[in-house]
Amino acid sequence: MNENMKLEFPFTDNSGELSGDKLDEHLKNDNNTEENKRYRIRSGYILREIAGEFAIIPVDEESLITNAVMAPNDTAVFLWKAFLYPSTIEDVVKKGMQEYDATEETIRNATYRFVEETLRYRILEEVV
């Protein structure tokens, strides 16, 4: 590597000027990477099972969804329950693979879409 070239990782903390294997290890442990972000369901929603069907009721006036009841299907209930406590997407994918007969890629893609959509509607929040 050219000695004048300096690698930059704008979203990671590399104040120790690490390189090579040490940098790889540092990146794995860096809490700012996408894989390490933890999310949870905001407190303004209640999930209830009524006669075998699940319903999500927004109870917070600040919620973007008001005057409505949300009816999740089975996998949405699984994702909802998984994110009731702060979890990374990878944590949830691992749980999903134990519980469902599907490829890792299918579950990961669906989980990413779930996180993206629920963040947009301010149902999910990132835990810092």
Partner: protein, 133 residues
């Protein structure tokens, strides 16, 4: 046994106003209004809170086209919807010639949609008995 994976979906069902509730009036409350102000054997001149005669003998020199001449309590309970015309007012007992006598009595008037006169001295509507709420 592991379950079959399906694309996660959340169906949002919005509430729509129920027509039956809307038809019950603005609050849907129905009171058991007790027409109990005054003595059943006496007649009274009833005025709205601003002094407009509502049910008077007409000898008060105010006069009013909607004057019902006098009011006497019927003593009955009427089912009255919350938006069927309740007005604040007061009344006096009529003398021999229809004039005001005695003390001013504050009342709430139930007009039954402005076509009758019933009065109560219970001025706190929260204490009224309800037929439906």
């Amino acid at each position: 046994m592991r379950k079959t994976w399906e694309e996660p979906r959340i169906l949002v069902q919005e509430f729509v106003a129920n027509e039956y509730v809307a038809a019950c009036g603005d609050s849907g409350v129905v009171y058991n209004f007790e027409c109990n102000a005054g003595d059943r054997r006496s007649s009274y001149n009833v005025y709205l809170a601003d002094g407009t005669p509502y049910a008077t003998s007409g000898r008060d020199y105010g006069g009013c086209k909607n004057d019902y001449y006098s009011y006497s309590p019927c003593g009955e309970k009427h089912e009255a919807e919350s938006d069927s015309g309740f007005l604040n007012g007061y009344m006096y007992k009529q003398g021999w010639f229809g004039e005001n006598t005695g003390n001013k009595i504050d009342v709430i008037i139930w007009t039954d949609n402005y076509k009758d006169v019933h009065c109560t001295t219970q001025l706190d509507m929260n204490k009224w008995e309800t037929a439906k709420s």
